[in-house]
């Protein structure tokens, strides 16, 4: 499985990268929505994108609508990971095509649980841990 981590903060990308690579995902990173689109257009198409909302150049909400506009990327799972936590925004993101939503701040467990929910984890990956403390 390949995960693309899209967040303007290097620190946040590093935290997420450690969690998902501990679950045997290959990771790539993008600094904002446009960067992610460029990489995907260049052929780096992940199984799942972890997407921040507030970013320069292109925000995560716009990114999600762009990905959903492209039928070639129908199989890409989209999970928001953002501090935006109003009910209204969660509804908007889901309506735009996000499959899951994690609110920052989160613990590593939250990411693991959601990936399991999305069917992206091998059962033993969940039990075997491998998540950094």
């Amino acid at each position: 499985m390949r995960a693309m981590i899209i967040d303007d903060s290097r620190a946040m990308r590093s935290i997420l990268r450690r969690i998902v690579s501990g679950l045997d995902f290959e990771t790539s990173e993008a600094e904002h929505g446009q960067d992610a689109l460029d990489q995907m257009n260049a052929g780096v198409v992940p199984d799942i994108c972890l997407v921040d909302w507030n970013m320069p150049v292109m925000d995560g909400y716009t990114f999600i609508t762009r990905v959903r506009d492209n039928p070639d990327w129908r199989d890409v799972t989209l999970m928001m990971v953002t501090t935006e936590s109003e009910q209204r925004n969660i509804v908007r993101a889901l309506a735009a095509g996000a499959h899951e939503y994690v609110i920052k701040p989160f613990t590593p467990d939250a990411i693991v649980d959601k990936l399991a929910l999305l069917g992206l984890l091998q059962p033993d990956a969940v039990l075997g841990g491998g998540v950094p403390a």
Partner: protein, 165 residues
């Protein structure tokens, strides 16, 4: 937990998040990043005390829309660097660079700001963070509405909410 905080009477009717909320949101951020081993503890600070650490980092995110306000975090360099090292997984013995610290502290205010925003009337937008080495400076048309002084490993951290006059 009792934390000394001060409401500026000049703030008048301007709506502000409660001290409890700001403190809880900040604690949640710390807990999620650093675990339960080293938690934030209250810090008693007399009214009007400037943020008194030696080296200081500050980060600001503003909220605009249904509610207007500015969320600021100030932290001692001696807090900012280890927290940054933890977030970026920088090995012990290697120093976090200033650009690392700016990135990490910006993410702190982003997380706190987004959660504060969700507690206030909306819809509102959260700005991207801006980070400075040094204390935060506020425009004269802003007034402090809420402040939480805490410490981590004995070093000070302050989160403030300012609202328009």
């Amino acid at each position: 937990m009792n934390v000394l905080t001060f409401f500026d009477t000049d703030a008048g009717a301007a709506e502000a998040p409660s001290v409890d909320d700001v403190q809880a949101v900040t604690e949640d951020v710390w807990l999620s990043l650093l675990g339960e081993q080293e938690v934030l503890v209250p810090r008693l600070v007399p009214p009007g005390t400037p943020f008194d650490a030696l080296g200081v980092w500050s980060a600001v995110a503003s909220i605009s829309g249904g509610w207007q306000g500015v969320v600021t975090i100030e932290l001692a360099d001696s807090v900012a660097r280890p927290v940054t090292a933890h977030m970026l997984d920088i090995p012990a013995g290697t120093d976090a660079t200033d650009s690392d610290v700016a990135d990490a502290v910006g993410e702190l205010v982003n997380m706190i700001g987004g959660n504060i925003k969700s507690l206030m009337p909306g819809p509102s937008a959260l700005s991207l963070p801006s980070v400075a080495a040094g204390r935060a400076v506020f425009a004269s048309d802003l007034v402090e509405a809420c402040r939480v002084d805490i410490s981590w490993r004995g070093e000070p951290v302050r989160v403030c909410i300012h609202v328009p006059h």
